[in-house]
Amino acid sequence: MEPTDSLQYQQFMERINRGDRIEAEDWMPDDYRQQLIRLISMHGISEIMGALPEKEWVPKAPTLFRKLAIMAKVQDEMGHGQLLIRVAEDLMAPLGKNREDLMEDLFTGRLKFHNVFHMATPTWADAGVIGWLVDGAAIITQGMSLSCSYGPYARALARIVEEEGFHIQHGESICMELAEGTPVQRQMLQESLERWWPALLMFFGPPEGNQLSTHQQKNLDYKIRSKTNEELRQKFLTKYVPRIRSLGLVIPDPTLSQDPVTKVWQYAQPDWTLFRQIVNNQGPRSQARLGLRQMSYQEGQWVRRVLAMTTPAAV
């Protein structure tokens, strides 16, 4: 690793501090590159794994309109994965790695994907809650990352955030319809909220307390991120608790309250031990989804080989 007193490092930090965007071929410290690879490959693979829970509802969507809309959303998520994996690949290229290595890392468990995409989606309300609240949570994180010091990631996010706007309204529309529906439909939505609430709190990662992890401190110093997990979670609560309640839904946490002066939310901590199990592929649907991903990767291998043998046309 470069000594932090080297001229190159100091010039790099000057660029970061004056708000420059760093590009793929610019000089960057190894740990900046590593932090980005870690973050962006996890984000990219989560988009792809995140399409799977919703994909389960494509054949079972209640109307043709809903089926077309959820298919479009699944396609968007795969597209986001492609964009982000390209960003990660350019960062990994000097290390001699590419997307095949990412897929291998996913299958061996070295590369994690977001906790929410390990969860089951037993009812149509889950498809709605994923769009409304999971994508709602994601857009809070991604909105922050638009100011990321790494240009290609920020530019990919600008496209992604634009499409997430459609996803959220798609989810809101499903949830709104259920909330305005029969007692059975309302019950289905309430149960889905109860199923997803702990996962939504976990989405932002463990609260830091007064101690930032080394990774987080680095990410803040390098302006890869600008807010802590807890700041993002507080933002989510402020935005969504009133909306959830306005649909007459009950959040499964009797201790949830907002300090009227400081505006800080108090909430029951989710089970962080369970969180670690989930992200280590021990969640309810982890193995099934990894299995599906692995099978489709292996079954597509011959296609990629054939494509790689294609003689490029004259350009």
Partner: protein
């Protein structure tokens, strides 16, 4: 044959309207220009449509970046723009109201 599969990176440019410029979108990984065009269309035109789509192999692009521009910072070159000619508008208004005679301005020149 090696198992490693090597595709190329293509940068994608989309023209949305006949009078707009092709705008760089992002890049895709593809085995051929045809595949890059398909991926480019799916990824960047599926909502907006397009009138034209270009893909360019990344290594065919020659470029300058920040470092190349040092020493080339722009001086204030108002003579390249309309900045230096703003006074003309007032002159035209003045002479619309007080046309010159064949001898020139009636009361001498207007103030600059």
């Amino acid at each position: 044959m090696s198992d490693a599969i090597s595709f190329d990176v293509y940068e994608v440019f989309v023209q949305l309207e006949p009078m707009s410029a092709h705008q760089h979108q992002f890049n895709v990984l593809a085995s051929s220009p045809e595949m890059a065009l398909e991926l480019g269309y799916e990824n960047f035109c599926r909502r907006t449509g397009a009138v034209s789509l270009w893909v360019v192999k990344r290594d065919a692009i020659h470029k300058w970046t920040q470092d190349n521009f040092s020493g080339k910072e722009r001086l204030a070159k108002t003579y390249r723009t309309t900045e230096d000619y703003k006074y003309l508008k007032d002159k035209w208004r003045h002479y619309r109201e007080n046309p010159m005679t064949q001898e020139g301005p009636r009361n001498g020149r207007t103030a600059d």
